[in-house]
């Protein structure tokens, strides 16, 4: 009996967790009138895709999505590659200043993005990178919530679980550091790299502050900036903004469900170590 009650409570929690997603998708498929007059949980009858079509073509969601893919993709690639390199050095190599550097890396995780925004904007201005993809992407590779230090930490912990014998054998065969990293460590670390890639992708996809400050033309407008502007312009015209929000969320829900096993495990891992 107690078990049943517990289960019911847990189930209710799950409903609260996914309810907003479901209601958003449901209401975005309603006519402008029905969004206002019917309850959010009342099914869209019949569902319409007109709102999605409107935001997709008229309000340039297709463009936002493309720009966000470029942005999040590039940031992910950069972070995974650079984090893996640094992680190997921190996990396996002896060099002066290693521990101090590693701790300094970790300490930078607590610096809020907004603290550095103005100077960073000025640095980008000096580099002539305002409103360019390079200006959008480069700093994001290193500074985001769950940025580079987190990635290095995650991969380093994983590298340390890999037996050294494998490396030693390769070294005896004459493999250099780079060869060991690429041929032995990386193939053995696929799950953690996939996880890091996913988490970084999610962070970049969701990032608002930096794109808001550094980009300003249509060519570089990403989803977060784009739909925030839509919300400002079409406040309370829920059929439009909900369709836009749903389109911004859906790709990630899919990514998440595909990789959920790894993500769930890696989140658990971060807390343990």
């Amino acid at each position: 009996m107690k078990r049943v009650a517990l289960f019911v409570v847990l189930l209710a929690g799950a409903v609260v967790s996914i309810g907003p997603y479901v209601m958003t998708l449901n209401s975005a498929a309603k006519t402008p009138r029905d969004v206002l007059t019917t309850d959010a949980w009342q099914p869209a009858m019949p569902p319409t895709f007109a709102n999605f079509a409107t935001v997709w073509s008229e309000y340039d969601m297709s463009g936002f999505l493309l720009h966000t893919l470029i942005y999040a993709g590039a940031v992910t690639a950069g972070q995974v590659v650079f984090a893996t390199m640094a992680a190997y050095a921190f996990a396996r190599m002896a060099f002066p200043g290693r521990d101090l550097l590693f701790w300094s890396y970790l300490a930078t995780m607590m610096v809020p993005q907004l603290v550095t925004m103005v100077p960073l904007f000025l640095i980008m201005r000096e580099l002539g990178l305002i409103d360019t993809y390079a200006g959008l992407i480069l700093p994001s590779i290193f500074v985001m919530p769950f940025g580079m230090p987190y990635g290095i930490f995650l991969v380093r912990q994983y590298f340390r679980t890999i037996p050294r014998d494998l490396e030693a054998a390769a070294r005896v065969d004459g493999a250099g550091t780079w060869a060991v990293l690429v041929r032995i460590m990386i193939p053995l670390s696929r799950p953690i790299l996939a996880t890091l890639a996913t988490i970084t992708f999610i962070q970049a996809w969701n990032n608002l502050i930096w794109p808001l400050v550094i980009t300003n033309s249509r060519r570089t407008q990403v989803l977060t900036v784009g739909i925030a502007a839509l919300q400002g312009q079409f406040a309370s015209q829920y059929h439009i903004v909900l369709a836009a929000a749903a389109l911004a969320l859906l790709p990630l829900v899919v990514v998440f469900l595909l990789f959920q096993r790894h993500i769930v495990r890696s989140i658990a891992l971060t807390g343990l170590k």
Binding site: Y71, G73, T76, A77
Partner: protein
């Protein structure tokens, strides 16, 4: 393992995308390739975009080597974005300019003086209303040519009037006063009705279940509501051009009080919790949904109302008269050329075109905004007559007593502070005096 393959593909795709993306970013900003120049042109009004695109198509015929790319940012983001662009040294070549930010821009030297070009091309500037043209002149320099003008009117839903047994004539010649609200408030009380058909003046009126309110009010700065009442009450927002703010003067506070009364005392306005920015719907939506019978709005909203309401569904009445008479806020925009543009010659061609009778005729015929060229006002009237709406009231207002946006360098402070503070006044959480004093002090402190 599957995730790894996916990751590899992902990273590969990304590297390609990055290469493409970075390559593509090279031509951001005004650029020239193969003799063709692309100008960036920034604006904030979605509604005006289609007719402007039509005008730009004509421009392209005349100047095949100049391409124009429109950058649209809604008013809420426009100024923050534009100023960030100016700070970043990457502003659009041509952008819409507004009186409230103009003094700061001219001081920051981010605008191009058009006088040499006007003289070189022997442009006839007498076609513009001097009232509009003179705004953009500072110390012998001209920073813009009039794009349009606007005044404020009382938009009404014809259905709401019919349901109440009123005619448009009942909204003409209304007047208000700070004591009992006058005939204006009486008309709005008639138009306000609860679920049981009671009006606010009747016993049993249920303020919690109002079916339709008499009026909807929303104005981030005050332009569409209290500034008009202020003018009609003899209040001046500043002591002189580039002077100090004076909105804490009794005549001004009284006007703010009157708007608060419409919300709180008379209960004829759609509650501020609904209409307050940033989450409040635009007023064409509020009237379109039947929540309000009328709305005070600017003439630039005509097309929005035309879309939100069925054909013949709305009309425009004059603003009421106040203790010192009639009056409306009068304002106009211009197109500015960024001082840092790499294509000054082409930008001037665009600005010259947009200020030309040919272009303004195309835009005026669409009925989006009143034209900067006085001779085209009749075209605007005819365009709306064809849609069954009499818009001559805006013209009358412009010819009468008007008030312009204050000329000051502290607009961004006023705008940034007043939104949240006035929201509280309309909610009844702050007295008009407290609000006026606070904003007046902070805005004046920002003037150096």
């Amino acid at each position: 393992m599957k995730p790894m393959r996916t990751t590899t593909v992902l990273i590969a795709a990304v590297v390609v995308a990055l290469a493409a993306g970075c390559g593509g970013s090279d031509d951001s900003g005004g650029s020239s390739s193969g003799g063709t120049v692309t100008l960036r042109y920034a604006m904030w009004d979605e509604v005006q975009k289609p007719p402007i695109e039509r005008s730009l198509a004509e421009f392209a015929k005349r100047h095949p080597s100049i391409k124009v790319s429109i950058e649209l940012n809604a008013w809420e983001n426009y100024w923050s974005k534009l100023q960030t662009q100016l700070a970043g040294g990457k502003a659009p070549d041509v952008f819409w300019n507004h009186v409230s930010y103009f003094p700061r821009f001219s001081e920051q030297n981010v605008l191009t003086d058009l006088t040499p070009d006007i003289n070189a091309d022997k442009l006839d500037t007498s076609i513009y209303d001097p009232k509009l043209a003179n705004v953009w002149k500072v110390e012998g320099k001209t920073y813009g040519l009039p794009k349009d003008w606007d005044t404020i009117g009382l938009f009404y839903s014809t259905k709401a009037l019919q349901d109440t047994g009123m005619t448009p004539a009942d909204l003409a010649d209304l007047s208000w006063n700070p004591v009992d609200g006058g005939t204006f408030v009486k008309a709005l009380q008639r138009l306000t009705v609860d679920a049981h058909g009671n009006h606010p003046t009747e016993a049993g009126f249920d303020a919690k279940k109002v079916k339709r309110y008499g009026i909807a009010l929303q104005a981030p700065t005050g332009q569409q509501h209290w500034w008009n009442f202020a003018l009609q009450n003899g209040c001046r927002l500043q002591d002189r051009a580039f002077g100090r703010w004076t909105i804490d003067q009794p005549a001004c506070v009284q006007a703010i009080q009157f708007v608060q009364d419409l919300f709180q005392k008379y209960q004829v306005a759609v509650p501020a919790s609904v209409t307050n920015p940033p989450n409040g719907p635009s007023l064409d939506q509020v009237v379109g949904r039947g929540q309000a019978a009328t709305a005070m709005e600017g003439s630039w909203m005509l097309r929005a109302f035309n879309t939100a309401l069925p054909k013949g569904g709305f009309g425009v009445a004059d603003l009421p008269a106040g203790p010192v008479g009639k009056g409306s806020v009068y304002n106009g925009l211009s197109e500015a050329i960024y001082a840092g543009t790499k294509h000054k010659k082409e930008a001037w061609e665009l600005v010259k075109w947009l200020a030309s009778p040919e272009s303004q005729r195309i835009i005026t015929e669409a009925g989006t905004v009143w034209p900067g060229i006085s001779g085209l006002n009749d075209t605007f009237v005819r365009a709306w007559k064809a849609k069954g709406v009499d818009v001559t009231g805006f013209q009358k207002a412009a010819a009468g007593t008007t008030m312009s946006f204050p000329l000051t360098k502290s607009s961004s402070v006023y705008v940034e502070k007043s939104l949240d503070i006035f929201n509280q006044v309309w909610l009844g959480k702050l007295t008009p005096r407290q609000a006026a004093t606070r904003i007046n002090t902070e805005s004046n402190n920002a003037i150096q």
